[in-house]
């Protein structure tokens, strides 16, 4: 943040409690948001980030009712007294899912809708619409239907429909959550242009911080209880998050390099060189983070180098799921087959990542496996028997599916009943069933929520419940559709650890994901869907070294690889890896095993 930037929004002791709730979501919150820069709001799920955006936009308390105390001003204007309709002149709001904010069917109508509501004369609209579309690089899409656009294009049009009204402030609620890597990079580049060229002020909540951190200028970190934990320039906040022991317990979504360094510094915080390094950094010495300095610190701690990094190996179990010459097309579109003469296999005990750009047929493959679609060409066998010949009840005892939206699976009114429901056809006695349910509630940290309605749980809890409800029936193979979707960093880590535990117990896991870090960290087999074929890879390194395929399948190398490469260039003892867990483990093990640490 440079000295020219001035605060434009000031919140003074804001406390907000939703109607019919007793605990405030935002608690005595005083903060400033700066003009003409990117303000990032960080914090765990449920800490009040979205509530803060709703408060700024005016949705609270006019749309979502509740009690607000405190003051909130924009350049001296009391926002709390400004009606929602008038706030749309100052604030533009972009939702996570662009479909949530489209009101019409074509790009042109969508942009005109915003202008019409502001009472702009029709003769001015033509030029304004063109300008807004040019701003997001979509001028040629003016006459297109919204359903013809890709996810990234839809988000750009949603942004254009906000920009068309020329609000000085843009409020963005996880705008890239549904986008692939290429579209994400485009949106962030666009945001940077909006700030630097068009002098917009951006307030953003975002989990994909890797691309955002380099362009962010001001950051606000909220505590899980809705109070302010930290605020300031990006560098100030990062210094405290990385080096201040007072914030070691907070793990908001940071870049993977930062996560690894933070973890390592916390783990060895008692070592004198680490203490001194953290103190120097907190005093503002040098850059916020410098790979070379970190390596020097690591070397000062006398690392003992391992002979090699243990690599995961495929287990090759008893049964397999195998496709031979598999082909499928939807009945309406025989000219566009999704698969054609493709082969793949999944062995018992594999941890498989199923990758591919949107629309390549990942969900269709799942539907074929679960007999929700058919008939297919070629062969698709589970344990040597064609999928189409399996009795569905028996098939679903072998394979479970955790949907992207866990709510789709819920059928009962309490968490406990939900698990009990999965056991209704089990030969266990009532007492044994109850004991099993208790075990699963404990294992998935749901014991204290046993009597809550499943629909009232948090995103992380819903995901855990949906996995538990599937696994309690004892399926051997579990498919997970984007398990990290809508999860904050802590929840994501907890869930992945739970899945790893299941994998160790012999459960075969197949996850669909766009998160390459998860692939590098956990999968021991990868299936990439591209151009009607499924290409198998026995390890993530094999895939991520294939740059041509990565580009063709709209994939990207994991974020940590750049960091690993940087460190490896500086010190060839540091391994060149794609997995953040492997790199973290390397730095921890080399010190944990050193004599100095034990002394």
């Amino acid at each position: 943040m440079n000295n020219k930037q001035l605060p434009c929004i000031e919140l003074g002791h804001i406390t907000f409690t939703y109607a019919e709730e007793t605990q405030p979501v935002l608690n005595d919150l005083s903060l400033s948001l700066y003009e003409n820069c990117i303000n990032v709001i960080l914090g765990d799920s449920g800490c009040g980030k979205s509530t803060l955006l709703s408060l700024l936009s005016g949705l609270i308390p006019e749309f979502y009712e509740g009690t607000v105390q405190g003051t909130m001003e924009y350049h001296g204007i009391n926002l709390l007294e400004l009606p929602l309709a008038q706030r749309s002149r100052y604030f533009g709001f972009l939702f996570q899912n662009p479909e949530s904010q489209f009101c019409t069917f074509t790009v042109e109508d969508e942009l005109a809708f915003s202008l019409e509501n502001l009472g702009v004369p029709p003769q001015q609209m033509d030029k304004t619409i063109h300008h807004a579309l040019q701003l997001v690089g979509m001028a040629d899409a003016r006459s297109k239907r919204l359903d013809q656009l890709s996810g990234g294009e839809k988000q750009k049009i949603a942004l254009a429909s906000v920009l068309v009204c020329d609000p000085p402030i843009l409020l963005l609620d996880e705008p890239t959550a549904n986008l692939d890597a290429a579209s994400r990079a485009e949106i962030f580049a666009l945001l940077q242009t909006l700030v630097s060229v068009h002098q917009k002020t951006i307030v953003i909540i975002e989990h994909n911080v890797h691309h955002l951190l380099p362009i962010a200028q001001h950051m606000v970190l909220l505590h899980p209880n809705g109070t302010l934990a930290l605020q300031g320039s990006r560098d100030t906040v990062l210094r405290h998050l990385l080096y201040d022991p007072a914030f070691s317990h907070l793990s908001p979504q940071l870049s993977q390099a930062h996560q690894i360094v933070k973890y390592w510094l916390n783990r060895f915080s008692t070592l004198a060189p680490v203490k001194a390094y953290c103190q120097r950094k907190l005093n503002g010495e040098g850059a916020v983070f410098c790979a070379e300095e970190f390596l020097n610190l690591w070397k000062q701690c006398s690392p003992r180098l391992p002979h090699s990094i243990a690599s995961s190996s495929t287990s090759g179990g008893e049964w397999e799921l195998r496709a031979n010459n598999l082909g499928y097309h939807y009945p309406q579109t025989p000219e566009h087959p999704l698969f054609q003469g493709t082969d793949f296999s999944i062995q018992q005990g594999d941890f498989v990542a199923l990758l591919g750009a949107n629309g390549t047929g990942k969900s269709t493959l799942l539907k074929l496996l679960f007999q929700a679609l058919g008939p297919y060409q070629g062969s698709l066998c589970l344990q040597g028997k064609e999928i189409s010949q399996w009795n569905t009840r028996l098939l679903y005892r072998q394979m479970g599916l955790v949907f992207q939206n866990p709510e789709h699976q819920f059928v009962c009114t309490t968490v406990q009943q939900e698990l009990m429901y999965s056991l209704r056809n089990s030969p266990l006695s009532q007492q044994e069933k109850e004991q099993t349910v208790q075990q699963y509630l404990k294992r998935f940290s749901l014991l204290e929520h046993a009597h809550k309605n499943p629909f009232s749980l948090s995103q992380g809890q819903k995901r855990r419940l949906s996995v538990a409800a599937m696994l309690i029936t004892g399926q051997n193979i579990l498919f997970l559709d984007e398990p990290d979707y809508g999860q904050d960093y802590t929840n994501q880590c907890n869930l992945m650890q739970e899945l790893q535990q299941l994998h160790r117990q012999g459960i075969t896991l197949v996850m669909i994901t766009h998160n390459m870090s998860l692939v590098a960290d956990y999968a021991n087999k990868i299936l990439v869907l591209s151009n009607q074929h499924i290409q198998p890879f026995s390890c993530s390194d094999e895939l991520f070294q294939n740059a041509a395929l990565l580009q063709k399948a709209h994939l990207e190398e994991p974020e940590v690889y750049a960091f690993s490469r940087q460190l490896h260039t500086l010190c060839n003892q540091v391994p060149l890896v794609f997995s953040a867990n492997a790199l973290k483990q390397f730095f921890v093990d080399t010190i944990a095993e050193s004599e100095e640490f034990h002394d």
Binding site: F93, Q101, F105, E116, M125, A372, M399, N405, F410, A469
Partner: protein
């Protein structure tokens, strides 16, 4: 930008809606199938010549209604045939009079022609224009108009949601339940997640509309306002004149009259 829409697609939606209502009313109270048949043929001709819709697309869209209509006529034939004594037309234990055949054919043609009119309306009307003309010509409030449009936009999404929930629950064994109680309660288990999802989506949509300035009492302008033009009035009047001519001609031939009952008198 040049307007590539054809004659029927350019007509004001309210004019088309009014015509459909009038024709539906006339068809509903007309006796003998020839009036419905004539209106049906006229609709097909107008649709194929005055829009981008092809005959193949029309057949595809209306085959469900054709099936319903044929099924309806078949079951009516069975029901009418039971217990009719001294009927001139007999088959096994069934018997019919000539009047029975006309009644059944009239009812079947009513279903088919009204369906055709509805398909023609949907095929040639942009939903956005329909809402605009309801707001501008019928003075519906913009909030209600756009809320209806948003609900219409969500229909395909909700359909996907239903399929997804059905599969999720099938995997959990709900579909495979054999006992009657479970079968009867199955739709409710589908409704709970669907309603939750629909309510959330609806709420987000309403919030998005308010954030974009669509609030009660808003003074809106319109980028492409809909109007009822002279061509619209001409289309309206000429359709009514042609309909009246058909009715009069058929009446002269003894093949048309109004009736509010189901039987020919």
């Amino acid at each position: 930008m040049t307007d590539t829409r054809r004659f029927l697609e350019r007509r004001n939606p309210i004019i088309k809606l009014a015509l459909i209502l009038i024709l539906t009313l006339l068809i509903s109270v007309s006796v003998f199938p020839l009036f419905s048949l004539s209106i049906g043929i006229l609709t097909v001709l107008l649709l194929c010549c005055g829009s981008h819709y092809t005959l193949g697309q029309l057949v595809k869209k209306t085959k469900v209604f054709l099936l319903i209509s044929v099924n309806f006529m078949f079951f009516m034939l069975l029901l009418k045939g039971i217990g009719t004594t001294n009927a001139p037309y007999r088959f096994l234990c069934f018997g019919w009079t000539q009047s029975d055949f006309w009644t059944i054919l009239t009812l079947g043609m009513r279903i088919l022609t009204i369906s055709l009119l509805s398909v023609a309306f949907v095929a040639t009307t942009d939903p956005n224009e329909l809402v605009l003309s309801m707001i501008l010509q019928l003075h519906l409030s913009p909030v209600h108009g756009y809320a209806a449009l948003a609900a219409y936009r969500f229909l395909p999404t909700l359909q996907q949601e239903v399929e997804s929930i059905r599969l999720a629950q099938k995997i959990r064994g709900i579909d495979a339940e054999k006992n009657l109680i479970s079968r009867l309660t199955a739709p409710f288990s589908l409704m709970i997640p669907l309603l939750c999802s629909a309510v959330r989506k609806g709420e987000r949509m309403a919030a998005a509309m308010e954030l974009r300035g669509l609030t009660k009492g808003v003074q809106r302008t319109y980028y492409k306002p809909t109007r009822i033009t002279k061509s619209d009035w001409l289309f309206f009047a000429s359709t009514l004149v042609v309909t009246a001519c058909i009715a009069l001609l058929l009446q002269a031939l003894g093949l048309f009259h109004f009736s509010f009952g189901f039987h020919l008198k």
